[in-house]
Symmetry: C2
Subunit: 188 residues, 2 copies
């Protein structure tokens, strides 16, 4: 398994990565993905093909790396009022994005290579967002599920449905969350 460290920001390696990722991104928007090749990406990113082969191995690995990067969250889950509502909103958005054509293609790219580093990165991003919500609930003293409960009983069933069945709708997501929410001990 090849695990690549994030390059030092601003260094040559980071610039190569940014320019290759941008080239792949632009080409996937503009052309059929069957036509995207490493020589074309190299030309557009202004690097040599061997730079790409040396760093990513092959096209599939590069596509998996680009897909994982695009799944990196840019903002924390929105604050809506209660943390339960934040979880609800964030999870519905997660399910929508992952179920979309672009989302499914990114998951396919990430899962289609034997190297699991990008898949683990993708799960790491999800856990990072859930940890923000858990910390928020602790601060406010709201009862909240654990990370394991959220990953096992909300995220996993959503991902299984997207990959092997039908994408879950908002009702389904709400149901998964309800079943994992601890009831407040004292109701006033």
């Amino acid at each position: 398994m090849v695990s690549r460290e994030n390059p030092r920001p601003g260094g040559r390696s980071a610039r190569v990565q940014a320019s290759v990722h941008q080239a792949v991104h632009d080409m996937l928007v503009a052309m059929d993905r069957a036509e995207v090749t490493i020589p074309l990406i190299a030309q557009r990113a202004n690097v040599t093909p061997s730079t790409i082969y040396r760093r990513w191995g092959d096209l599939q690995e590069l596509l998996a790396d680009v897909a994982a990067s695009r799944l990196q969250p840019e903002t924390e889950p929105a604050k809506t009022g209660s943390v339960r509502a934040d979880l609800q909103a964030w999870t519905e958005q997660y399910a929508d994005e992952m179920s979309s054509g672009a989302g499914r293609q990114m998951i396919r790219d990430i899962l289609s290579v034997p190297d699991t580093a990008n898949a683990e990165k993708c799960s790491g991003y999800t856990q990072q967002q859930l940890r923000v919500l858990i910390a928020r609930a602790q601060e406010r003293g709201e009862p909240f599920p654990t990370l394991t409960e959220l990953m096992d009983y909300v995220i996993s069933p959503i991902m299984y449905r997207i990959l092997f069945e039908q994408p879950p709708n908002a009702d389904c997501v709400r149901g998964l969350i309800s079943r994992v929410m601890p009831e407040a001990v004292v109701k006033s």
Copy 2:
């Protein structure tokens, strides 16, 4: 989405399917998968390449179809004593098989195509086995989880771990099952 009916057993279509599947299976054992091509498969299966293109579209779709067929269970879950123990044994075997190199490759093949028919077939096989266990529990009057509980809280977390994290070990599988088992109402 292309959904293909199972061909009539013994008919020409079924014979073509069996011979092409067998050829793919043998070639995947004997050679590097990067060297497996439709013309070579056609030659080995004694059909024309156009027969394969017409029926499966492309190599990825054919590999997904072969992988899904190989996941079709040949026997019912073994009877071990209690249905809970049957579930335990079957689920551990499921997790082991899916986590193995061959299992992961089959899942990759199934998920790497945009057509979701084979992924749904794969989920259908899992549900079929779980239904056998549910019926067995009903017959014996043993308390047992529902199909939805088993799919959401046992199968989905196992598959998520295999795809995005680390394959679950036997303890992890046991934990997932424990948390979903209804306690017997009357303890004597």
